[in-house]
Amino acid sequence: MSDATGTDRPYPNPKLLVDPEWLEQHLKDASLRMVDMRPYPLYERGHLPGAVHLDFPRIQSVVDGVPEMVGRPEQIEAVLSGLGVTPETTLVIYDNVYGQVAARFFWTLEYYGYPDARLLDGGWDRWALERRPVTREEPQVTPTQYKVRPQEELLATHEWVLAHLKNPEVLFVDTRSTQEYHAPDGHLPGAVNVDWMETLTFRPLPGMRPAVELEALYQGVGATKDKEVVTYCQSGARSSHTYFVLRLLGYPRVRHYDGSWLEWSLKARRGQGLPISPTEGKE
């Protein structure tokens, strides 16, 4: 699959974001597999031709009492094998919740070494608003035997976060709303706040904001490309979306704190020595 995906906005890593017009012209490419991550009752009522359904909980697991953590290796291998993909397959993922669920799968795929995952710009909502082709036919899939290869440099564990909180070369981006960032529950010491929804546009059609606006958004809070940028939110979906945006913008070192605030605040309450701002830490 070529790097061209038809976007007219010059993102540094343009192949990651698929333009609906381009996808409509390539729906029959054998190397493409579309993945619909909306709830099944919506998939059943109509989806992109050739799209397979993937239920969001299938890519998540519970670790040490923390829900919504990344799926275990054998779990993701079963998912990918069930989707019938090989390392040569280009996966185009979409949802109807502004890409946060699709992006969670995108990060999961990158973490497990999948070579070519992409998101559909504007997701299902834009596809439907533009009245592009839809079918109720569910494709027949021949299962494969897919093996994952975890890329540990893309994952921040709570131990890694704790060890790098005061590292000036690492910037933590809290992708929750400003209200959540300033809530009594707090945030990571030193983290900056960029609400993930700031990356999106909703009118006239839903989709990603232009590259120049996104770059200004992140550079404005000091998230420059010479730093390692670590994203987190409450459970890891919204921060996966920001991980995707930073990859789209060509940031060379981006990690995702998978446990996010659910894990950090839980372990802090358990007295496991994790600091929280504004009550503790360097702020």
């Binding site: 709830p39 919506l42 969001f56 829900p67 919504e68 919740v97 502004y98 909703f202 459970s235």
Partner: protein, 83 residues
């Protein structure tokens, strides 16, 4: 389903207590998509994050948020009319 003080005819109720992001919005949107225009959905959530973010997302979708009522320390009722 929790009792609210609102005098509004509710067409669908969704109890999302114990659920967190992104499921609160995923399930609210699923319910709205299966309803008719003009019908009213009441969602009960048990974290402030969802009480803020679900209405915000529903507004982005063009729906009308009729009420966000705090029921007690940990529960909120969100009343949304499908547009």
């Amino acid at each position: 389903m929790a009792e609210t003080k609102l005098d509004i005819k509710i067409d669908e109720e969704l109890d999302l207590r114990g659920e967190v992001c992104p499921y609160t919005f995923v399930k609210s949107k699923l319910a709205l998509e299966l309803m008719e225009v003009g019908q009213i959905l009441q969602v009960v959530v048990s974290n402030e994050e969802s009480a803020t973010n679900v209405p915000r997302s529903c507004l982005n979708e063009g729906h009308q948020v009729l009420a966000v009522e705090k029921l007690n320390d940990r529960e909120w009722a969100l009343v949304i009319q499908k547009q």
